[in-house]
Subunit: 333 residues, 2 copies
């Protein structure tokens, strides 16, 4: 049914009926505000905006994946604090030319990940708009002391979960329409781009065990996000290029020695954190327990040295920053 | 400074520095998520979207007023539940042609009302966008059992705070550029449109004293919002046209007997609620205590009678619904 026929209130009712019941949600969609239980003494709140043409392109992004990713990127922020996600608010601007089944697909994408991650959709707002935009707000419980960006110290190790650069590489392939990528490689990279995995268990365990001194999720690219930790912790950082975790698919596409997407590509949604060297064994053990690879990629140094990348001989690689917001860097060899 | 020069992170830093400190905010703007104290066992969460060209027009709306109203409309939703507002998240889509001083004005508008209402700005997200859009999420404490839309019963009285229709009338004057309106009348109506007053104290006291059986704020027009109470409470309603509270300014512009904006105009942000007839004296007393007029305008009736408006002789006024979302009604005499 066309949205212009179903109307705002019909659409809200349709979404309300599709939402899973949660006993902690005392009043959900359909009142002036949602009313929910607080399960810990404090809570975590994060928010992300996704705009058509800026953050996504509907040519190669399905509405299901868009819904999935809307929740995933917010889950990743809660993971980066060591929190437990709970309640989601989603506000939409939609062109009225869309059909209600399109919107169903979007909410099915949200619902699919919400069920897996124990999140309840509790409300939002919607309006007509010339282009799609999505604004989501996720509220999480804080059973452990949250990990900020500001606690790293000189001498700390720097770690990252999973692999880096897959998502940026996928976007690159989508934009350039490269045909010769092997199908299984392409499929893997696209899944990393469209359905990122928030590292919730890893983040919560790092908080519970007090292992991370500072943490952030990699959304704008490793170097830029590491820069936020460095600024808030007043330290510098040295990253060892050869230690960057790259997937087999990444290596298959870029060759063996091209870390550019891993260093500056965005949307990895992996956890980047610092930890005292004395905790190396405990972090290795935690990695095995949760089944998520955690790789030591660098060291915290005095602030004056800023963020730098070195090769296998300890030689500094010149990194040119491009643009002023989303650091755009190229590596010259 | 042009936003394109200041950049996203410069802008966030600028906003962060302008925000008032609040001891309940353990981590505010500038991390992956905000970390705040829960002061009650449950909380209230509401969300509103404002889009340029749909909800506001920058021709006649200053950015200060836009910021003020962004918070005000969300406060009104928390008021309609009987809650206490606490934490605000604001996400923006902004055209990069704007100057940082424009954005300062917007946040000054938010800050001015935030200080008055005890609200802390704790985060958000921002992005370039072809037109302004604002998505806000407000979290409130719930010291008393919240008042939903679903508890009204047949025989309950229907009340509204303040006066109705001023905001819609102001918008009408702005659109038509009517020149002959007396300046003080125009000033009053415009202030009602640009800087609505959320009825927070009244809402919280109604919740504390358990006086309201159902409550909503009037944002889409009295009849439409009353329709939501009727639907969720499974009742009908009779509104007495002659009892509608109209301001002197409203009467000055429309003449004595034209309730169309009061019945169907939006953005009043007054509280509409139902209460048992035995509580009339207590409600009158509460109204005097908080210094906000509360007017009894109708009665809850069986559901089959739906929402109707009657004149001084009890004769039903024919109301034609126009449009399908935002009920547009005209009264024929």
């Amino acid at each position: 049914m066309k949205l212009s026929r179903l109307g705002e209130f019909g659409l809200i009712e349709r979404i309300r009926r599709s939402v899973r019941k949660d006993p902690a949600v005392l009043l959900g969609i359909g009142d002036d505000a949602a009313w929910v239980l607080n399960k810990t003494r404090s809570c975590l709140i994060t928010s992300d905006v996704l705009i058509e043409g800026v953050h996504f392109n509907l040519k190669w992004t399905s509405l299901f994946d868009l819904g999935y990713k809307t929740l995933a990127v917010n889950l990743s922020d809660i993971a980066a604090m060591g929190g437990v996600p709970a309640y989601l608010i989603v506000s939409l601007g939609i062109s009225p030319k869309f059909d209600s089944s399109d919107i169903d697909q979007f909410y099915a994408g949200i619902g699919s990940l919400a069920t897996k991650s124990g999140v309840a959709l509790i409300g939002g707002d919607m309006s007509v708009a010339p282009r799609w935009f999505i604004s989501a707000c996720l509220i999480g419980h804080a059973p452990f002391r949250p990990i900020s960006r500001g606690g790293a110290r000189q001498g700390d190790d720097i770690y990252v979960t999973g692999t880096l650069g897959d998502s940026a590489l996928a976007l690159n392939l989508l934009r350039k329409k490269v045909k010769q990528t092997p199908p299984d490689v392409l499929r893997y990279l696209l899944s990393r781009h469209h359905r990122p995995t928030a590292r919730l268990t890893t983040g919560a365990l790092l908080a519970r065990e007090k292992l991370a001194t500072a943490m952030i999720d990699v959304s704008d690219g490793l170097l830029q996000d590491l820069g936020h930790i460095c600024k808030q912790s007043r330290i510098g950082a040295v990253i060892r290029k050869n230690d960057l975790p790259l997937s087999a698919a990444y290596r298959a596409v870029t060759g063996l020695n091209n870390p550019i997407h891993a260093l500056t590509g965005g949307e990895d949604y992996e956890l980047l954190f610092c930890a005292r060297p004395r905790n190396r064994v405990r972090i290795e053990k935690l990695s095995k327990e949760v089944g998520v690879s955690i790789t030591r990629i660098g060291t915290c140094v005095p602030q004056r040295r800023k963020v730098m990348v070195v090769d296998g001989f300890g030689k500094r690689l010149e990194i040119r920053s491009q643009g002023h917001d989303h650091f755009k860097k190229t590596i010259r060899r």
